[in-house]
Symmetry: C2
Subunit: 338 residues, 2 copies
C-alpha cells in the first residue's frame, strides 16, 4: 500500500501539542537547546522520537538565512586522486555537520547553471576543485555572500582563498632528483597547458635544468589520462630515442608512460626512468611501483575546510593563498645512472 504518499509529516507544532509546550520550546530544543528545562527537554525528545519527528531543514534555512550545505564542484571524479579528495572532504564536512551538494563539472569552467543551483540552495560555501572560476562567476558568489575556496588551483589576485600543492617547488625537487641520479635527457608530459599547475611545474622543472646547463627537454601536453600519457610517450619515443627520463604531469599519465615504454620492449627504469605526481593508490601496485610526488592530501583538505569555515563564520582573515609542500616517494622507477 504505497499509495498514500503525502502523509502528513509531523512538525514541531505536533510535538509541541503532544508534549504540552509551545512550538518555540520545541524549536529551542532542536536548534541549540539552550534555555529549556531538563524536564521539558526530555519530554519533548521523547515525543519527537515517538513521532519520528525530523526538523525541516528548508524551513530552518529559510528563517535562518543560512544553510548547512556546502557545494563541492569537481571535475574528473573518475581520476583516483579526486575520488580520494572527495572522500576526505566528505569526512571532514560531515564531522562538522555540513552536507555536500556534489557537482561534477564537465567543463574546465563552472557553468552558469551549476552556479545557479548552488545559489538557489543558498549554500554556505563552495569548494572549487580543479576548475576555473571566472570573474563573473566569482562575482555571483560574492554578491550572494557565499564563501569560496579554490582547491588545487589558483588564480592571481583573486579575492578568495586557494589551497594547493607547491607545484613549482615540487617540480624543482623532482628535477633535482633526476639530475642527481644522473639523467641527461628529459621529457615532461603535462596536462592541459594553460593551467597554473602545468605552468608552475614546467617553470620549476626548467629552472633546475637551466641551472645545470641542461637544455635537453622535450615537452608534450595532453589530458590527465592514462591514454594521453600513453600516446604522448609513444610520440616522444618515435621523436627522440635518447630520452632517459619522463616526468608525468600526474600519476595516471606516468602510468600510461610506463606501459608505453614497456610495450615497445624497453625497460623502466633501466632504459627510461619515470616520475609521477599525486601518489594515487595505483602507484603502489607492484606492476608499477612508481616513484612519485605525494601531495599532503589530508593536510590540504583540512586547510581548505578550515579556511572555508572561517569565512562562513565571519572569522575571516583576508583571502589566503596557501601552498603545501608534500614530498617525494621513492619507489622503483628511477634508476641511478652514474
Amino acid at each position: 500500500m504505497q499509495s498514500d504518499k503525502h502523509k502528513k509529516q509531523y512538525t514541531s507544532e505536533d510535538v509541541a501539542r503532544l508534549a504540552g509546550v509551545s512550538q518555540s520550546t520545541v524549536s529551542r530544543v532542536f536548534a541549540g537547546n539552550m534555555g529549556v528545562s531538563e524536564k521539558k527537554r526530555k519530554k519533548i525528545l521523547e515525543i519527537a522520537n515517538e513521532l519520528n519527528y525530523q526538523p525541516n531543514a528548508h524551513a530552518r534555512s529559510l528563517i535562518t538565512r543560512k544553510s548547512k550545505l556546502i557545494g563541492i564542484v569537481m571535475r574528473r571524479i573518475r581520476n583516483p586522486f579526486y575520488s580520494a579528495v572527495l572522500e576526505i572532504f566528505h569526512a571532514r564536512f560531515s564531522a562538522l555537520g555540513y552536507n555536500l551538494i556534489f557537482i561534477n563539472s564537465d567543463n574546465e569552467e563552472i557553468t552558469e547553471s551549476e552556479i545557479s543551483k548552488l545559489l538557489e540552495y543558498n549554500v554556505a560555501g563552495v569548494i572549487v576543485s580543479d576548475a576555473i572560476l571566472s570573474p563573473e562567476a566569482e562575482a555571483r558568489f560574492k554578491r550572494h555572500g557565499i564563501a569560496i575556496v579554490l582547491f588545487n588551483r589558483y588564480v592571481e589576485h583573486a579575492d578568495y582563498s586557494a589551497v594547493f600543492c607547491d607545484n613549482y617547488l615540487a617540480a624543482k625537487q623532482i628535477a633535482r632528483y633526476l639530475v642527481e641520479t644522473g639523467h641527461r635527457s628529459f621529457a615532461f608530459i603535462s596536462g592541459p597547458q594553460d593551467t597554473s599547475i602545468t605552468i608552475d611545474r614546467l617553470r620549476g622543472f626548467r629552472e633546475v635544468l637551466a641551472d645545470k646547463n641542461i637544455t635537453d627537454l622535450l615537452v608534450e601536453s595532453g589530458q590527465y589520462t592514462y591514454e594521453s600519457g600513453f600516446k604522448a610517450t609513444q610520440e616522444l619515443l618515435t621523436r627522440d630515442k635518447s630520452i632517459d627520463c619522463i616526468f608525468g604531469g600526474n600519476d595516471v599519465i606516468a602510468l600510461g608512460a610506463m606501459d608505453a615504454i614497456r610495450l615497445i620492449g624497453m625497460k623502466v627504469p633501466d632504459d627510461i626512468s619515470v616520475v609521477g605526481f599525486d601518489n594515487i593508490l595505483m602507484t603502489g601496485w607492484f606492476s608499477y611501483m612508481l616513484t612519485t610526488w605525494e601531495q599532503p592530501l589530508e593536510e590540504m583538505v583540512d586547510t581548505t575546510v578550515s579556511l572555508l569555515i572561517d569565512d562562513i563564520t565571519n572569522k575571516l582573515r583576508k583571502p589566503q593563498t596557501l601552498m603545501m609542500k608534500g614530498h617525494l616517494i621513492i619507489r622503483n622507477t628511477v634508476k641511478v645512472r652514474s
Copy 2:
C-alpha cells in the same frame, strides 16, 4: 570589503515591484511559467537578470513539500567502479534537474544520523549503492514517503526496487569460460562473504563446476581491495600450488592477484589465469589487460534513475528487482589450456 555579509538577497517580491507586477506572477514565471503573458514574462526576466535574482529553493521546497534533491549514499568511493557510478548518476540526475546530496558511508549499514540528514532535507529520493538498508532504516524512509532504489545490492522481499548485475549468471558464464578453456583447479577470491553479491557469484560458480564434476575449488574472502586480493593470493599459493585459475570478486582484487602471482615469478596467464569483475578503467591498462566481466553500468544507472523517478512522481509500478546481464570482456589473462 568583505564585511557586509548579510546583504539583502533579492526576492520575487523585489522583482515584482520593479517589474510592476505581483509576486504571484513572478513566481509563475520561475516555477512553470504557464499562464503569463509574453510581455510581462520578458520584463520580469529582464529585471530578475538585472538584480541577479535567484529563486530560493528552500522556500520553494517548504511550500511545495517537495525537493529536487536526491540523496546518494555510497561506500568506498575510492573504488574506481564507484567513482564511475557516481559520475554517471550525477550526469543523469543533473540532466533531470535534480541535485545530489552525497554521502559516503563508512559502514556497511547506513547510519541513523545519515538517514536523519536526508530526511531533514526532505530529499525526493535516495539511491543506496552497495550498502545495507535495515528494515528500520527502510521504515524511516517509507514513513516520510521517500522513494528508495538499491543499486548493486538487493534484499529479499524488500519493499523497494533494486537494480544490480545478475551475479549468478555472470559467475556461471565465467566458470563455463574457464572450464571450456581447459582449467581444472579453481580459486575464488571474494569480497565480504555475507553479501548478496558474493553469495550469488559463489553459487553460480559452484554450480557450473559441480555440473562438470569439478570439486577442486578454493575460496578466500576478504575486502574489495588490491591488498586483500594480493594477500589472499599469496595465501592461496602457499596453500596449493596447483591452482590454474583465479576468479576475483572484483577487478581490484584480481589486479592484486595478478601482481601477487607475478611477484613470486609465476606468469599470468601461462601459469595461472585470472578473471575479474566490473571492467574498471585499470583493467585495460597494458600492464594488466585483465579479462573481466563488464557490468552494463550506464544501463544499470539509467534503469535505477528511472525507477526512482517513477516512484517519486507516483507513476510507480510495484517495487521491482531488476537484474542486468553484462558480458565477458576477453583480454589477455586467461590461457587456453588444452
